[in-house]
C-alpha cells in the first residue's frame, strides 16, 4: 500500500509539494532581499568598537567579514541569508518555548515522591522559599529575556523580510541590543546538568521532554542572535524606513 501511496505522490508535479513551494519562496526572498542594501547618499563609515579607527564601510559578499586595519577585530560581517535565518530560528525558538514550559525538564523520584522541574517552577520555588530576588533573577535570565529576545527578533526581522518595517521596530531593535548579554539559557542548561549529577546519589532523576526542547531552543537562539550583524540590521531598518 505504501508503495502505491509513494508512487501516487511521486506522480504529482513537483511544483505542488509544500516543500518545493517553501524552497521556492525562500530562494525568491533570498534573491530579492539578500544583498545588504546600500545606504543612500555618499560614503558611509564604520568605526572599530575596540580601537575607534575609522573605515569606509565597503559592501561585503555574503559570508565575509570586514576586519579592522588597526587591531584586527571584526568591524561588521555579512551573514548569509541573514533575515530568513533570523526569522526562521527565532520563530522555531518561540514555538519550542511553549513546549519547554508545558513539559517538565527533570523528573525526580525519591522517597516515594515524584517532583518535576520546569522553568517556572524553579523561579516559583525560590520565591516561595524566601528569596524573591533570586527567583526574579532566575525568571528574568531564563524566561523573560529569551522570550523577549526571540519575539523581538521575529518582530523586527519578519517584516523586514518583505521589505517592510514594523511599527516601533527601531525601539525594539535598540532594546534587543541591550538585552543580549542577559540571555542565559545555555548557562541554565549547564546548571541542569550539574544538579543532575548532584542529585544522582539522592534520587532517581530523568530528563523530561522539556530538557530536550530547551536544548534546541538554546541552539536556535544562538543561531538567531548571531544570524544577523548589528550594522546590517540597522542599515536594513534605515533603508526600509525611508
Amino acid at each position: 500500500m505504501w508503495n502505491a501511496v509513494w508512487k501516487d505522490w511521486a506522480n504529482y508535479p513537483s511544483e505542488w509539494s509544500l516543500i518545493h513551494k517553501m524552497k521556492k519562496t525562500f530562494f525568491r526572498l533570498r534573491r530579492e532581499l539578500s544583498p545588504w542594501p546600500r545606504l543612500p547618499g555618499g560614503a558611509h563609515f564604520a568605526a572599530c568598537h575596540f580601537c575607534d579607527t575609522l573605515h569606509e564601510a565597503e559592501p561585503l559578499a555574503e559570508g565575509k567579514a570586514a576586519l579592522c586595519r588597526c587591531c584586527g577585530e571584526v568591524l561588521y560581517q555579512n551573514r548569509p541569508a541573514s533575515l530568513a535565518r533570523v526569522t526562521a530560528f527565532s520563530l522555531t525558538a518561540l514555538i519550542l518555548m511553549v513546549v519547554v514550559n508545558l513539559f517538565p525538564f527533570l523528573v525526580m523520584d525519591g522517597a516515594g515522591i515524584r517532583t518535576t522541574l520546569n522553568l517556572v517552577s524553579g523561579a516559583k520555588a525560590l520565591v516561595a522559599s524566601g528569596s524573591p530576588l533570586l527567583g526574579i533573577a532566575l525568571a528574568l535570565f531564563t524566561i523573560v529575556t529569551p522570550l523577549v529576545l526571540a519575539s523581538g527578533l521575529l518582530y523586527v526581522c519578519g517584516p523586514l523580510l518583505f521589505g517592510k518595517i514594523a511599527p516601533g521596530a527601531t525601539h525594539v531593535a535598540k532594546w534587543l541590543n541591550r538585552m543580549e548579554p542577559w540571555n542565559m539559557i545555555e548557562v541554565f542548561l549547564l546548571g541542569v546538568l550539574v544538579s543532575l549529577l548532584k542529585l544522582d546519589k539522592v534520587a532517581d532523576v530523568n530528563f523530561g521532554i522539556g530538557f530536550w526542547a530547551f536544548g534546541v531552543v538554546m541552539l536556535c537562539m544562538a543561531a538567531a542572535v548571531s544570524g544577523i550583524d548589528r550594522d546590517e540590521l540597522w542599515d536594513r531598518l534605515e533603508v526600509a524606513r525611508k
Binding site: 564604520a46 588597526c70 522517597a111 517532583t115 535598540k174 548557562v187 546548571g191 542529585l199
Partner: protein
C-alpha cells in the same frame, strides 16, 4: 605619524553605541536610532571601578555564607561554594568539580583582576598594551555569564528536592550575594570602554615620537 590610521575621535565623529552608525558628535543624538551619542562611554572607568568594588565587597559573603542549606531527616547541612567543589572532588567527579571551580571561583576572580588591569591601563597608571587588553576585555565580556550557573543549580535543587520530612533544600544568603557578584561584574564589563586603551596608547606614542626624531 602618517602611518597611523585616522580615528573617529580625531574628526569629531562618534560611533553610535547602539546601532554603530558613525555621525558627528555635535548632533547629540544618533540620526538613525535616536540614542544619545557619546565619544566614549560616559564615566567609563569610574563606573567600572564602582561596580567592581561593590562586586568585590559581595564576593566575601558569597564565599563565606552558605549557598543553600539541606535539611535531611531533621539534620541541617549548609553548603558553601568551596564545600560543593570539595564534595564533588572527594566523590571523584573531577570534571564537574572543575566546572564549578571554574564557573564560580576562577571566572569571578579573573574577571575582577582583568577589570582592575583594564582600568589601570585606561587611566594611564600602567603601560597600555591595547592588542592584548582588548582580547582580555572581550573574554571578560563573554565569560561573565557562566558564573551564574551556581545560582541556577541552587534554584533547580530548591525546586526539585522538596521531599517533605525526608529532605528539603532552601537557598542561603550566600546565593543572593553571589548573584550580586555576577550581575555587578557584568555591569562593570558593560560600562568599560575598550577604546580608552587605544586613546592612551596613541597619546603615549604621540608624546614619544618627537624624542625619537631627535635621537635619529
Amino acid at each position: 605619524m602618517s602611518d597611523r590610521f585616522p580615528r573617529a575621535i580625531e574628526l569629531g565623529l562618534a560611533g553610535c553605541q547602539t546601532c554603530g552608525k558613525v555621525s558627528r558628535l555635535v548632533l547629540g543624538r544618533c540620526p538613525r536610532c535616536d540614542s544619545k551619542l557619546f565619544m566614549r562611554k560616559p564615566d567609563s572607568v569610574r563606573r567600572t571601578v564602582a561596580f567592581m568594588l561593590a562586586a568585590a565587597a559581595l564576593y566575601v559573603p558569597a564565599n563565606v555564607l552558605p549557598m543553600m542549606s539541606m535539611i535531611e531527616m531533621g539534620v541541617v547541612t549548609e553548603n558553601t561554594i568551596t564545600g560543593g567543589i570539595i564534595y564533588f572532588w572527594q566523590g571523584e567527579a573531577y570534571p564537574i568539580a572543575l566546572v564549578i571551580l571554574t564557573a564560580s571561583i576562577i571566572i569571578p576572580l579573573l574577571k575582577m583582576v582583568a577589570l582592575t588591569w583594564l582600568c589601570l591601563a585606561a587611566s594611564g597608571k600602567i603601560k597600555p598594551t591595547p592588542g592584548t587588553l582588548s582580547r582580555i576585555y572581550w573574554l571578560t565580556e563573554m565569560m561573565g555569564r557562566w558564573s551564574m550557573v551556581d545560582i541556577f543549580v541552587v534554584g533547580i535543587l530548591v525546586a526539585l528536592v522538596q521531599l517533605g520530612n525526608y529532605m528539603t533544600v532552601s537557598p542561603g544568603p550566600g546565593a543572593l550575594a553571589f548573584a550580586g557578584v555576577v550581575v555587578l561584574t557584568m555591569f562593570a564589563a558593560i560600562s568599560f570602554d575598550p577604546r580608552l586603551l587605544w586613546d592612551r596608547f596613541n597619546a603615549l606614542q604621540i608624546d614619544s615620537s618627537p624624542s625619537k626624531e631627535i635621537d635619529s
